[in-house]
Each structure stands twice: as structure tokens, then as C-alpha cells.
Amino acid sequence: MATPLDPHAAIVTEAAGIDDGPLRTVDGQPLEKALARSSRAARRRAFMLVLPLLAFIVITFIMPIGQMLYRSVHNDGFAANMPQISAWFAETKPGTEPDEAAYAALAADLLASAEARSIGVVGTRINYEKSGTRSLFTSTGRQVRRGIEPPYREALLEIDDEWGDPELWGAMRNVSSAYTDSFYLASIDRTRNAQGEIERVEEHRRIYITLFMRTLALSALITALTFILGFPVAHLLATLPIRKSNMLMILVLLPFWTSLLVRTTSWMVLLQQQGVINDTLVWLGIIDQQGRLQMIYNQIGTIVAMTHILLPFMILPLYSVMRTINPGYVRAARSLGATSWTAFRRIYFPLTLPGLGAGALLVFILAIGYYITPALVGGSSGQLISNMIAEHMTGTLNWSMAAALAAILLGGVLILYWIYDRLVGIDNLKLG
């Protein structure tokens, strides 16, 4: 039965005599249009089927990440509540000496903000730039509410002479626009001075670059360790008869299925100074009571626990690739005179590369974002950058700073992914 939506209906043309006009369906629609309409309907149906997933991804993944990225450059805590002084900053050049007009604008803003009870927001924002200034804003706000007379410069300086500090004015200028790079600068241990130039922060406050470097170095080390430990295991699993290898596979999967927290805390039981390993060493007489080893609450603890936890992520992709390698290749190489090392190096190992690439990428990316394990067993020297992000999320409540650090981490992951794609090719990635 021919319907207007059916493209086959197009073969029924209205009149055989018309051969110069476009082909038409029974109801006189041009064929091209009917076809487009019917395929549009099919596309719409297909789209409706994936719509729930798309909505899920947008709501739970893309929007939060977008919001996070937005937060890292946008913080209008100061600009929105102190409009007049922000306007003054927008009109003048960095380093300009504040005049009476500036102080008048500042006083008016302080009054309005104190009355709207948003002075705490303003103070919090400026405190991120210059510590110890939050109370300057809140206490001045209280006094301004009691009444303030011109000239405002003298009046404000009388309340607190810190209002004349050029550094404070520099900090206010930095936060006077809602969009800012100051969180990114802080993430790489930089800041803007009163003249608006970028400079490094004081030595005792430099921390983020150290932590980024340590995170990268530890992640690389852990990836290498999982490779060294995981490769022979994966090889063994792949070459054993299937019944035996399934048995052994359980030994890999059981820890994989066990809660992360349980595995981390069991490492604490094993590694601590009064723990199983130290007790055994003392009992065997290898070390004495006083010489118990400190294997946890430092980098060693982080490395050991994370290597163990991430090991399955290396073994499983390697195993799945090794299973598919025909043992005949290595035998053929041997029959042609290759030593077993040469056969491994030139034949077997290159064939495992897609699995190795997938495993290394998985382990590395998981490792640079790791949080719970370093927090529990890392001590002071085993902390990673994610612990600082958590600190800013839950401790200092400086979400913009957390967002900037997280965005840098995300950027790093994307760059790694890009390099991997260029070097190995993402289509070579085999996860199973």
C-alpha cells in the first residue's frame, strides 16, 4: 500500500505524460521531499531511542564539568556586590593611586553590601587574594553602617589604616572583574602584584607545582610497577589451559571486586609499624624492636597500596590481548633461529602493545586522579594533587580554586590522550 511517507510510492507518478517536471508521489509531493520526510522520521525515531542516554550524559557529565570550568574563571563575589568601586577599577589603569572618588565609591559599596549582608561574600573573595583581609571588610562594614562622613579617604583610613595599603588595592583590582585568571595563576604558584604584573608567590607558599610534579612522577612510577608485576601474570594467565587460568583469574578479579577502602585499610594493617610485616621481620630477627620500618604514612605506602589496587587495570587488558596472539608466531620465530629473547622482543612483545597501551593509559589516568588511598596512607609526603582539590572543596570552600586545579588536571589528561593517539593510535586501544 502506498502512503505519502513511503518512498516507494514515488514510483507511482501522477501522469505518464509529464516528463520534464520533478518526479512526484501519488499525492503530488515532489519525490525528493517525500524521501527527506520519511528519512527524517526514521532519524527522529533513532534519536528518541538515544535521547535518555544523551540527557543522562549532558546532565551528569557535561554540565557539571562545564560548570566546574566556568567556576574556575568566574567568581563575582566581589564584582557583583561592589559595583561602584569595580567600575572605578575598570576606568583606571593598574597602579593608579586611589583618589577621593575611589574612596567614596568604596564607602558607598561597603555600606550597600553591609546592609544587604553580602559583605561576608566580598570579604571571602578578597581573602583568597590577600589573606587576613576578610575581617577588614566585615568590621569596616559594621562601622560604616553606623554612619560615615566625607571625606571618605580620611574616614576609611581612620577605621583601619590598612585601607591605604597599595597591596590591598591591587588585590581589589584583581577581583573587581567577575572573570579572572587568578585561580589559574594560584594553581601554578603565581600571583599578581599591586602593579598588575605576574610574579611567583613567597617561597613558603609554593606548593602546587611541586604537587603536580609529584603526582605525575608517582603515577608514572605506579604505571611502570603495574607493568612489571602485571605482564608476567597476564602472560601466565594467557598461556595456561583455560581451566587453570580461570582459577587463577579469580585471584586477579577478587581483589578487583573488593571495596577500595577495604583494600587500603588492609594495607594499613600489613604495613604499619605494629603491623604484620614488621612483626614478622622482628620475629625472624631481621630487624629489632627499635628498628621497625616506616612503610606507611609516606610515599612508600601510597606507591604500594596504589600499585596493588591498580594492578587489575593493567592485567586485564594485557590478558585479553595476549589470549589472541597465536603461539605459532613465536614457534615460527624460534624455528627460524631466533633465541627466546629475540622472539619475545621482536615478535611477542610488539603484539601485546595494544593491551599494554590500554593498560598503561587506564592506570596512569586513574592514578593521577587518585584520592582516597593517598589520603589514608600517604602521610605528608605521599599526598597527590587530588588531595588539595578535596581540601579546597570541603575545607576552605574555595570552589573556584578546586575547579582551577581540577581543570589543569583534566587538561593534562586530554594532552596525554592526544599524545597517545598520535603515538599509538586510539583505534589500537584494546580493553577486552
Binding site: A116, R117, S118, I119, G120, V121, G123, T124, N127, Y128, S131, G132, T133, R134, S135, T138, H204, R205, R206, I207, T210, L211, R214, Q272, Q273, Q274, Y297, A375, G379, S380, S381, Q383, M388, E391, T394, G395, T396, L397, N398
Partner: protein, 357 residues
């Protein structure tokens, strides 16, 4: 006074008829939440007929911020730390609480005079005082026992690992006290760069002997494992381990730093009248004292501190275990929240850099 207040509020409630008689309480759960339930919520329900619903949060300050910003406030009263109350109040996320609703002491002293300093602020009414105390494992020290903050930093005479809270707050003050600074000069000194340097220099001396804890449950665990011989930890957790698990941990009150927790009302709370009624009821001296029998946090009202009874379920008086007891306040320091609100980020950054370095 208390009765009249409750009666009038109850009558008001009846006059409005349709308004549901309930208060939604946001608390912390655990032993602390239990003290709220037993000492405040149950008697309040029994006396007024207003139903109290308790919800738990890891830290109620976080949901308050989210609720108010989303314009969907479900909590009427929340228990938060003093610092969070100051911050949330400054940001306009809390209702101001009129102190005239508070109940006077038995002897007629006004509520404001009955409270310890800072116990009631614009948006906050204190319910209890907890503190950070030095504690040692008795079994680790056979002869001389540590008794001062200086002993905590003396790894020669008192060997073993220590555990301290990971962060600048509490540790810098404690380090200065251990360095011989009297409690009342600590914050003045910390406002100067020299003071901060001095505190870090003192911490440096035991840096290699410290395991840093992040969750309150860690210090008793580390002590119990024998991993550390001394800790600087929350008194309630230690008390709990001693009471319920018979651990040989001794608290040294010298050098304690105490801090307050209390009620706040989120901006736009649905049952404001009942919320105020509940706050008035729960902060009455008798009820505050009752709460202290469930958990070793001291009442911030002087008249309540005097009437705290036995530890719930035992014949042992709670008094000696409270941070606010006179005998424990000898060399005690009240945590200066205004200082920490201002210097928190700078000092924590420096602390983290110091740790990583």
C-alpha cells in the same frame, strides 16, 4: 518563664491551626546526634507536642548553603560549628536569632550573662563546647607521664610517634603553647610573621614523628593500634574509646583548645516559630546539662555546667571529663574563630607547603 514562653508559642501555633506542628532538625548523627535526640528532641516532643524530625549530615553547614541557594529550605534548626555559623551568617544564609527568646538561669541570671563569652552571636546559640586535647597511651610510658604540651614535643624523654590533625588550625596554637607562650598571647603572636615562623619551627622539631589524621575516628584507632604513643585529638572521641572500649588513654587538659558548636536557623526556614521554641527549650540550663551526660562535651552556660550529672548509664560523674570543668581550664585556649576565618587559607597553604617540603 520557660513555661509561659512555651505555652504562648503553643497557643500561637494553635491559633494558626493549619500550621503543622513540627521542627526539622539537621544534626551530625553518631553519639553526638544521639545526645540531641535523647536530651532535646524527646523531652521537647513530650512537653510541647511539637514533632521533631532529625536528619543527619556529615557537616550540616554544607547542605544549608545548598538549600538556601536553591531556595528549597527544609531544615528549621541545624547544628553547626562556630566558624561555619560566622561564615554563613556573614554571607546572609542564616536567620538572625533574637536572644530574648532564650531562657534565663534558675537564679534569674539573664541568658546572655549565663553564657560563656561568644556563646550567643547574631545567628548562633551555643549548645556545647568540645576541645582538642593532648592524650597519651598510658601503657607506653612506665615511669614519667607526659603532662604538658612541651612533653608532646619532647621525643627524647617520651619516645614514640605522635598523631595530629592535618591542617594549620589547632597545631600552630598548640606548638606555641608548647614553646612556652601563655594561652592568652597565642593569637596576638600568630598575627605576626615571627609568631607563625616560631610555630612552624616548633612543629619542625617533631615533623618526622607525626602521622597526620584527617577524620576524628583516626586518633583513637592509631592509639589502639600502638602506631602512636600520643595524640592531639577531639576529647569526645578519646572519651568514647576509654569508656566503651576500656582503652588506657589519658587526657592531659593542659594546652587544650576549645571550640563551640550550636544552633542556627537557615534563611527561610519553614517553621520559624517552632524553631525558636526548640532553641529556647534545648538551651535551657537543665537540658544543656542533660545533653552533656550523653557525650563529653561541656555546656556553654555556666549554670548548666554546675548541674551536669552522671555519665548516662553509669554511676560515674561526667563533670571531670568535660572541657569546661574548672579544673580542666587551667591552661586552656579558646579557639579564636575570627582569626581563623581571616588567616585560614594563608596558614593552611603554608602548612601544606611545609608538609610537602
Amino acid at each position: 518563664m520557660k513555661k509561659t514562653l512555651i505555652l504562648t508559642t503553643a497557643l500561637c501555633g494553635m491559633a494558626f491551626g493549619a500550621s503543622a506542628q513540627e521542627v526539622n532538625l539537621l544534626s551530625w548523627g553518631g553519639a553526638y546526634g544521639n545526645s540531641h535526640l535523647e536530651a532535646y528532641a524527646k523531652p521537647f516532643e513530650a512537653e510541647t507536642g511539637v514533632k521533631v524530625t532529625i536528619a543527619d549530615a556529615d557537616n550540616p553547614a554544607t547542605p544549608i548553603k545548598a538549600m538556601v541557594e536553591a531556595g528549597n529550605v527544609t531544615a528549621d534548626v541545624a547544628s553547626v560549628e562556630y566558624a561555619d555559623a560566622v561564615r554563613l551568617c556573614d554571607e546572609g544564609l542564616l536567620e538572625e536569632i533574637d536572644p530574648s527568646v532564650l531562657v534565663a538561669a534558675e537564679d534569674g541570671t539573664g541568658a546572655m550573662d549565663d553564657y560563656i563569652e561568644g556563646g550567643v552571636t547574631d545567628c548562633f546559640v551555643g549548645t556545647d563546647v568540645y576541645s582538642m586535647v593532648m592524650v597519651y597511651d598510658d601503657s607506653k610510658f612506665a615511669d614519667a607521664k607526659p603532662s604538658t604540651p612541651a612533653d608532646f614535643f619532647d621525643t627524647e624523654q617520651f619516645p614514640g610517634q605522635r598523631t595530629m590533625r592535618k591542617g594549620a588550625k589547632f597545631n600552630l596554637e598548640f606548638a606555641l603553647m608548647a614553646d612556652g607562650v601563655p594561652a592568652d598571647e597565642v593569637y596576638d603572636l600568630l598575627e605576626t610573621p615571627e609568631g607563625v615562623d616560631r610555630a612552624f619551627a616548633k612543629l619542625d622539631t617533631i615533623k618526622d614523628n607525626v602521622i597526620w589524621w584527617e577524620a576524628g575516628a583516626q586518633p583513637p584507632q592509631l592509639l589502639a593500634d600502638g602506631e602512636v604513643s600520643m595524640a592531639y585529638a577531639f576529647n569526645g572521641r578519646i572519651f568514647d574509646a576509654v569508656m566503651n572500649d576500656d582503652k588506657p588513654f589519658n587526657i592531659v587538659w593542659d594546652g587544650q583548645i576549645y571550640e563551640m558548636e550550636g544552633w542556627v536557623i537557615p534563611q527561610g526556614a519553614p517553621n520559624m516559630d517552632e524553631a525558636l521554641q526548640f532553641i529556647a527549650f534545648s538551651t535551657a540550663p537543665a537540658n544543656q546539662a542533660r545533653a552533656a551526660e550523653f557525650i563529653s562535651y561541656g555546656p556553654p552556660r555556666k549554670s548548666a555546667a554546675a548541674i551536669v550529672g552522671n555519665i548516662e548509664g553509669t554511676e560515674e560523674p561526667m563533670g571531670p571529663h568535660l572541657p569546661t570543668t574548672e579544673a580542666n581550664m587551667g591552661n586552656a585556649l579558646g579557639s579564636n574563630l575570627d582569626f581563623w576565618v581571616d588567616y585560614d587559607s594563608e596558614l593552611n597553604e603554608r602548612f601544606n607547603a611545609w608538609l610537602a617540603g
